[in-house]
Symmetry: C2
Subunit: 347 residues, 2 copies
């Protein structure tokens, strides 16, 4: 179980590098599923082929940029946890990664991002137009992969997730620059844009293994709550100066006027002066160069990074609890550790 | 059968309004399938619902803008031609329209369009970001509709079409401003971006009616060739000054540096002076206000609008011929007339 008691102390020790123990839970799970993951990578490369050269070129740029392959890993891990012995999980893991990649491509266009995982984003290199259209291709290709798999139940889960992701993205757009955004709406946004695909990625692993509806639902809950924790931490890290060294920009959400959890908490408790600051910088989107530093000082004052992480840990604990519905195994332990890692990661 | 002999004479008479006879083939088919089309419209409105208000708002803007519903009509007509008596064709027609609408939304972002069917385009009203994300939603929703239908064969056809559309769009992007674009590549572009969905829309009508593979393939050929004809005419009309009155801008393709058929023909036969003009305006994208008029004069000089229409008529004739594989009926006659209408339409 993830412990919340020493959230602040642990967070501090992680930031100063003295607590590596949970950091590599993801690395261990990745190592345990290495064969599957290699096969998934091969499937990804094979299935992004097209006679239209720009498609594999742009897709290769994304593959080269790396990424943790967290979502496909969840499909692979869930399938193995459920005792699955076939090959379908590899194709479905590739399909999950394609949906994720298509979303990233469109996100970067929408957010006008120039960096992705520390490298120039695809839209910065190939232009917005190519990013929109290659995103569409990857999305369509993901569905072709699902159709080739041939399970209507899997198709239902993943097409539902795709629609929910788009709804979450649109909701995020409508809450942008809206200081009246409620916590509830924020949670709706991240449930849609992030957690829904985590949930679907896990659930399909159980479905192809022929597990009971209750077990599949438990996997979906694990994925959903893990996704919520993951996004909360992401939103916390966007205000954490120490990640800037790791090739990630910080303050993106601030510049884009996104009302994320650390900011919502700070706004709720802000002085009149602080309220005026948030209204100008996030509500009106009028920002000067010093404003990010001021935002960080307010966030520090209200301790909202730690509180965001603490909220993430509640979700991570719930994710771990959901796994109790499934048989004990080394993979299950690693999946629990990944939930802990998710709230402990620093980038 | 469509006749090519009097292509120029017919085209002229259509432009001056003296040949209405084929114009309303689409209207007649629409009337014949009125109940089905009304049901499809209801399905479209019902299925674009979402708790995220911007989604139905933006989608309603597109529905309000009208459109001929040509693609869903093809699904309905093909199903009825094949003697289909159930209700699945309505949901699949809605799904075809969703794929088309998602493509339009992304096209308008890519092309930076401000008008669509004579009204402000969605991206002009709601912004590029909303258009990208709502397009994603409609695409995902289309897949949910297909999954609800439950036929893996239908899913295969439509997911394949979706991937082909995206490939066509990306190929179009890479040929933009490229004067070395071949006719072959141009045909690849329009086969992907337009004809593939026409083909799929028709084919699924045969599939749900349980027709033979040969008959379904004939419907796909009809749709494919009809789509080729349709896009060729569209590309011709973009250089036809008389359509400007009908709420459609002309010269969009020219301004966007698209190497469409009327231009490819003119380039191939251009004088040195003309070549320099195309190199500057389309190759370099350096255009002044008078350039469209000059482009039109070159196109007129080489008679390439009529020649593009004539090429469209070859495809339309092939579309008609494909229908011979299916039983004679009033619907089949109307579908043939629609092919003729496609090359005769003026907007």
């Amino acid at each position: 179980m993830v412990r919340r008691v020493h959230a602040k102390a642990r967070w501090d020790s992680i930031l100063d590098g003295s607590t590596p123990l949970t950091i590599d839970a993801l690395t261990r799970l990745t190592a345990a599923l290495d064969d599957d993951l290699q096969a998934t990578n091969r499937a990804i490369v094979a299935k992004m082929e097209s006679p239209v050269a720009l498609i594999p070129q742009l897709a290769a740029h994304l593959v080269a940029a790396g990424g943790k392959r967290l979502r496909p890993l969840l499909t692979l891990a869930s399938a193995r946890l459920c005792g699955y012995e076939g090959e379908r999980h590899v194709q479905l893991a590739a399909c999950v990664e394609f949906i994720h990649t298509a979303t990233l491509l469109h996100d970067d266009v929408v957010d006008e991002s120039v960096l992705r995982r520390g490298l120039a984003s695809a839209n910065a290199v190939f232009g917005n137009k190519a990013s929109v259209l290659v995103g569409d291709f990857l999305f369509a290709r993901a569905f072709q992969l699902m159709v080739a798999d041939g399970s209507l139940e899997v198709l239902k889960i993943l097409s539902g997730a795709a629609a929910t992701i788009a709804e979450g993205e649109v909701l995020q757009l409508t809450t942008q620059n809206d200081l009246a955004t409620t916590e509830q709406k924020y949670f709706d946004v991240i449930r849609g844009k992030t957690a829904a695909l985590f949930a679907a990625a896990c659930e399909v692993g159980g479905v192809i293994a022929g597990r009971t509806p209750a077990e599949c639902a438990a996997l979906a809950t694990y994925g959903m709550d893990l996704g919520m924790a993951f996004q909360l931490v992401d939103d916390a890290l966007d205000y954490n100066a120490s990640v800037a060294e790791l090739g990630k920009t910080i303050g993106d959400d601030f510049r884009e006027g996104k009302l994320t959890y650390p900011v919502l908490l700070a706004i709720a408790e802000g002085s009149q002066r602080e309220s005026a600051f948030w209204a100008r910088t996030l509500g009106e989107g009028e920002q000067t160069e010093q404003d990010l530093a001021t935002a960080l000082s307010y966030i520090t004052r209200h301790n909202t990074i730690e509180r965001t992480i603490a909220r993430a840990e509640v979700f991570a604990a719930s994710a771990c609890a959901a796994l109790s519905a499934l048989p004990s195994s080394a993979i299950r332990d690693m999946m629990r550790d990944v939930a802990a890692y998710t709230t402990a990661r620093r980038y």
